[in-house]
Amino acid sequence: MIRDFVKDMNRKIYLKSLYKKSILILMAVIFPVLISGCARFAHLPEKDAPVAQLDFVYLSPEIEEWPDKKLRNTFSDYWYKRFTGKPSEEIFNVEAPHFQEMVNFSRYDAYLNNFPKGEILRIEIAYFIPVTEYLYEIPMTIVFQGPRGQEQKMSVRDRWVMVEEQWYHVLRDPLAFPKIG
């Protein structure tokens, strides 16, 4: 009777320890997988990052879609931030690499401070001109809500260049940056 009891207890203890071990082993396997999964999300490429949703109006019936999804995302993010004005470092980083080399950040920051701010209501795109394999010219009008709530328009002949698989804005403002370009 006592022997049976001891046997039963031993079996229970054995099963309990086996259960604990299996949980530990399972955790040891799952934990690194979870960590590596999180690390993958921590280094999300830009195309997967949340993108500002802007309302586009295509003025030409020939335009059906953007030439490149990455261009659309970078473009949306850039213009959204330009009209918010912040964070200026992030906006500066989307300017073409040669522009970043030729213009110091404080001057650019001052330029952004004087740029109109407001909510973008829509962007009217005339057409996409593939100037070269790496360059698009986009004539467009940005319709935005000014500080007093009035609707304002700004026409821009925008340029976007691809360098090392990344789209960059080519800022052309002959009054603010006459020596660039």
Partner: protein, 198 residues
């Protein structure tokens, strides 16, 4: 008679005083000095005359700064090309123009050596293809944003050769001239411990 003596000594005193002051003014006053470096007022005047002939006038403080830059940069250029100007060369127009030319050569050397990476060069080349059309017609005019309404023929765009990349590097460096020059001026001032003499 006594009055005459008094007036005589007073005139004598003021006469000697003004003569002494005159000599002092004619002395070539030191404007800036450092280790193995001296810049005199005559040098600054020579630079002033050089720029005045070109229609540039400025305040004395700016003139001293400009002269300091010319002298320090010209000295560096002379040491690089292993040359020296004659010791007895007067601070005339030839001397000033020679020094300015040497300092400009040194600035060109700095700009040429200014590192501009390949990515930056590529960015410039791809952003303004109209500048590199082989028929040489760039539609850009000052204070006007270029419009391109049609795709450009890639065969008509000059390829990005080493020579073209060099020119783009110079173009970008020249744009950063002010920063490059100021940085180097500060470096040389520190190197020679140059101080402006008040």
């Amino acid at each position: 008679m006594n009055n005459f003596k008094v007036f005589f000594f007073i005139f004598l005193f003021f006469g000697l005083f003004s003569v002494q002051t005159g000599f002092a003014e004619n002395e070539d006053r030191v404007v800036a000095r450092g280790k193995d470096f001296v810049m005199t007022q005559d040098f600054v005047r020579a630079i002033e005359n050089y720029y005045a002939k070109q229609g540039h006038y400025t305040r004395w403080e700016f003139l001293v700064d400009a002269s300091l830059r010319v002298k320090l940069f010209a000295n560096e250029e002379l040491s690089i090309i292993s040359a020296q100007l004659p010791d007895d060369m007067e601070y005339g127009p030839d001397y000033a123009s020679r020094m300015v030319k040497l300092s400009e050569d040194y600035i060109f050397r700095l700009i040429s050596a200014h590192p501009v990476d390949d990515r930056t060069v590529l960015s410039y080349y791809r952003s303004y293809p109209e500048k590199f059309l082989e028929n040489g017609q760039s539609p850009r005019t000052p204070f006007q944003v270029t419009r391109i309404d049609e795709p450009l023929d890639p065969d008509k765009i000059a390829p990005l050769s080493d020579e073209l990349a060099g020119l783009i590097r110079l173009r970008i460096g020249a744009n950063n001239r002010r920063e490059i020059v100021n940085e180097e001026l500060e470096r040389l001032k520190e190197k020679y411990g140059v101080e402006i003499v008040k």
